[in-house]
Amino acid sequence: MHSQVWLHTPIEVTGDDVEKALVEQCSDEAAIARVFEQLRGVAAEGAAEALNRALDIDVMDVLAQGWAQVPAVHTAVQLSALTQAPQTLVDLDRHSIVSTARVVLETRVAQRALPPLQLTLEISADVQSATLAAREGRIDLVALGQVAILAQLRYEDILVKEHVTGASRAPRDPFERRPPEFHRPPSVDFPL
């Protein structure tokens, strides 16, 4: 799926954020405490880069997982998948979508795996309005109102990183030719 929603500023953690999480992990994991000095500095920045790659998520996926739980959207998607009915549009007023994910950072020092750092990413999206299209078992975003994104990265109950940004629907070229149907991956996979 092409990215249809993009964040104004990406979620990025820094080496300091990683060190902060590692400090908290040291109290729980003695193995981390022993090599903590080696994990600081540039090593922590390397860990932050790995985390940022994992946090480079498509916000559309997060939002679609929430939209799919709306009964009207779910029904429309089912109908579009089972029948050759024309494309159905669903308008959603203001709503909030909260997505929780686990971020796992695995560290290996000299080919020896350390206890993974497990963080919790919670993304809260406050959507003013959205217009969705159900077609062939997929959800397409037709229109998106103002969206406020609050991303919080936690180690247990300790807030490691908080990021506030907005999201917008990616501009679409009106003259862009849509690829053939068999080349287009499904937008959202959810059980029918």
């Binding site: 080696q38 540039v42 159905t88 007023d93 979508i97």
Partner: protein, 320 residues
């Protein structure tokens, strides 16, 4: 020197004593010979009655017994130089003569029979090494005092050092006022007192040895510095004389950037790896690997009140 027709002045005696104390045995012996040759041969003090012996000795009219000849054995009694009738029962303190010459000790111990015992020592010949009874001990007059003197057999430094002997002689001649009473015995230094060189008749033992040691250390230091300078000069002239020395090479990171090979890691990379590892130069940071991934847990949607009913319409309506 001093007038040949009279007793040697006090300054001459002091000088002689000091020279003996500092180990310049040949020079002091010459002074003693000169003194004895210039004066008439006095009577032995032992032959004078005890009542007038001190007065006669102070006048220089009598002489104490000569020091026994150089011993051949290591430690053996040599001679009795004086004798006091045992009738005297008055107790007198024994002066401290340790470190002095045997002649001076015999002079100091007037009133006590002195027994000299020579022993091999590194001290100058004739220097008193020990005395029995101990100094400041009150003993009856006429008691025998045994002195252990050095035979100088192990003394080499001061007597063979051509520099230390004149220096010692010069330092051993303190100015003595001419108004000093003649033949007044020098005050005995208290036990354990430290008298600086040249301040009086007493000089600490080993002074000449220390001087020689200082000169020797200076000479050795000079030789060492000279050798180092010669080595540097030889190293600079290495190709000419064929001496090879390893030429140190700078680490690659110290060399200019244009001289570093492309295969060498950059300075920033080396610094980064070292800093990350916390162990400079180990490169352990390269062995630290990270992997991160995301695992979705749950997604919930909260619809605002009144918006729980989504509007569903056909696409034709939307485009219309």
């Amino acid at each position: 020197m001093w007038p040949r027709d009279g007793p040697p002045p006090a300054c001459a005696q002091l000088r002689r004593v000091n020279l003996v104390g500092r180990g310049s045995w040949p020079l002091s012996a010459a002074l003693m010979l000169g003194a004895t040759a210039a004066t008439a041969q006095p009577l032995p003090c032992a032959s004078v009655s005890a009542e007038v012996r001190e007065y006669v000795r102070q006048r220089g009219a009598c002489r104490d017994a000569k020091v026994a000849p150089r011993p051949r054995a290591s430690t053996r009694p040599v001679s009795k130089v004086s004798d006091v009738p045992p009738s005297a029962h008055k107790k007198l303190p024994v002066p401290n003569v340790i470190g002095r010459s045997s002649a001076d000790a015999a002079h100091e111990l007037a009133g006590f029979p002195v027994e000299l015992v020579e022993s091999a020592s590194a001290r100058p010949a004739g220097e008193v090494l020990a005395q029995e009874p101990a100094p400041a001990t009150f003993i009856p007059a006429g008691s025998t005092v045994s002195l252990q003197i050095s035979d100088g057999s192990l003394f080499r430094t001061a007597s063979t050092d051509p520099v230390a002997a004149p220096a010692a002689a010069a330092a051993a001649s303190p100015p003595v006022p001419s108004s000093a009473p003649e033949a007044t015995p020098a005050p005995m230094p208290p036990e354990g007192a430290v008298i600086p060189p040249g301040a009086g008749e007493y000089l600490p033992s080993g002074f000449a040895g220390r001087t020689t040691l200082i000169f020797g250390a200076g000479a050795a230091l000079g030789l060492l510095l000279g050798a180092l300078s010669m080595r540097q000069w030889l190293l600079r002239r290495r190709p000419a004389i064929g001496i090879s020395a390893p030429v140190p090479t700078l680490p690659p990171s110290w060399q200019p950037a244009d001289q570093q090979s492309a295969a060498q890691p950059s300075r920033d990379e080396r610094r980064a790896s070292s800093t990350a590892a916390g162990l400079p130069g180990t490169g352990l940071a390269d062995e630290i690997q990270f992997a991160a991934w995301l695992v979705p847990i749950a997604t919930t949607i909260l619809l605002a009140p009144g918006a729980d009913k989504a509007t569903i319409r056909n696409s034709s309506d939307h485009y219309a």
